[in-house]
């Protein structure tokens, strides 16, 4: 099964842009998991944790988001958050708190 493309963006910078098996988003009206081919959806996101799955059982990243909004289109999932902090997984240092990571040239 194809992966779903996942982007996490804050006003300060783009935090993540990668492919994942599934992303679980804490929606205002309940958590929902987004897999590839999900129907178009817009939802507000409550403060909580976004879970990124690389396979059915394997969580690769936990990201704490605050004040957000999620949009699922045929291109993938985009989460716009005011704050995002990667709690575990790759790029845990490159969170929006503390010193921002140097942008690539």
């Amino acid at each position: 099964m194809a992966d779903v493309h996942f982007e996490l963006v804050t006003p300060e910078k783009k935090i993540l842009s990668e492919d994942a098996y599934m992303v679980v988003v804490p929606g205002t009206e309940g958590d929902f998991g987004v897999l590839a081919g999900h129907a178009p959806l817009m939802s507000t996101v409550r403060d909580g944790e976004v879970l990124v799955y690389s396979s059915m059982t394997n969580i690769t990243q936990r990201i704490r988001v605050q004040g957000g909004f999620a949009e699922v289109t045929d291109k993938g999932l985009t989460i716009l958050a005011e704050h995002a902090e990667i709690l575990s997984g790759a790029g845990a240092e490159a969170s929006s708190h503390g010193r921002p990571a140097r942008a690539d040239h």
Binding site: P11, K13, G67, D74, T78, L80
Partner: protein, 299 residues
Amino acid sequence: MPSLKALKIRIGSVKSTQKITKAMKMVAAAKLRRAQEAAEAGRPYAEELTKVMARLASGVTVGPESPKLLAGTGKDTNQLLVVATSERGLAGAFNSNIVRAAVRKARELEAQGKQVKFYLIGKKGRAVINRLFPGKIVHQVDQTHIKTVSFDDALEVAQDIMHRFEAGEFDVARLYFAKFQSALVQIPTETQIIPVEIPAAANDKTPESGGPVAAFEYEPDEEEILAALLPRNIAVQLFRAFQENAASEQGSRMTAMDNATRNAGDMIKKLTIQYNRSRQAAITTELVEIISGAEALKG
């Protein structure tokens, strides 16, 4: 003709001025790069939000029940001009360009019989606006202690403005800042932030993918999402303005200081020539005196 001593002092002082402007130029150049990177990093969010807003707004009909931030209060008698300037001067025409754009609009609005008030961000616009429109400044945000603006700073300002809007202090709010184009060009820009201007893309029914707009599921419903997004949109617009301003300020300062350094260089050259001429003239005079004295003794 100034004395040799005076010229020497003058050259020394111009030289130290040049050192300062040169240092300021280099600092501005370094800061500019960072500010530019920050502005670029913030672009995806703003673009996404604009897209989403446009899509949402095209599905919602503006009626009396719509949120006031979208529909407005139905009046436009009280106008608020949010003027974002810098906290520091010595940045060429950066601040005066922004202020000039705001003042022009204020005059225009007053001529139409509207009430104009100013909401200042940064202290550099205060003097001029206070002189031209005394007593019209409702608030001034101090950003002196902020090194690089974060989204929270913008959020704070946005909340204050929205609070004033809800209290009925004004009907329409416009934001003034300088859009960064290059180190040489910064464009004073006006955007309406309240009521929200729906971007032109709202009427564009054919997205880039070419297919028909997919039917979205909304969670909660469209109105509620829109109501949640509207205040955020204002904060994002302010944040964008701050970032553009930060880049523009440094760009403008860099150019101004580069010019100042070059002018100081020209001045030093001119003064040095003048100094050398007078020195030579003094030596010649002395020589002539000695020779003619010797000649007189011989005779």
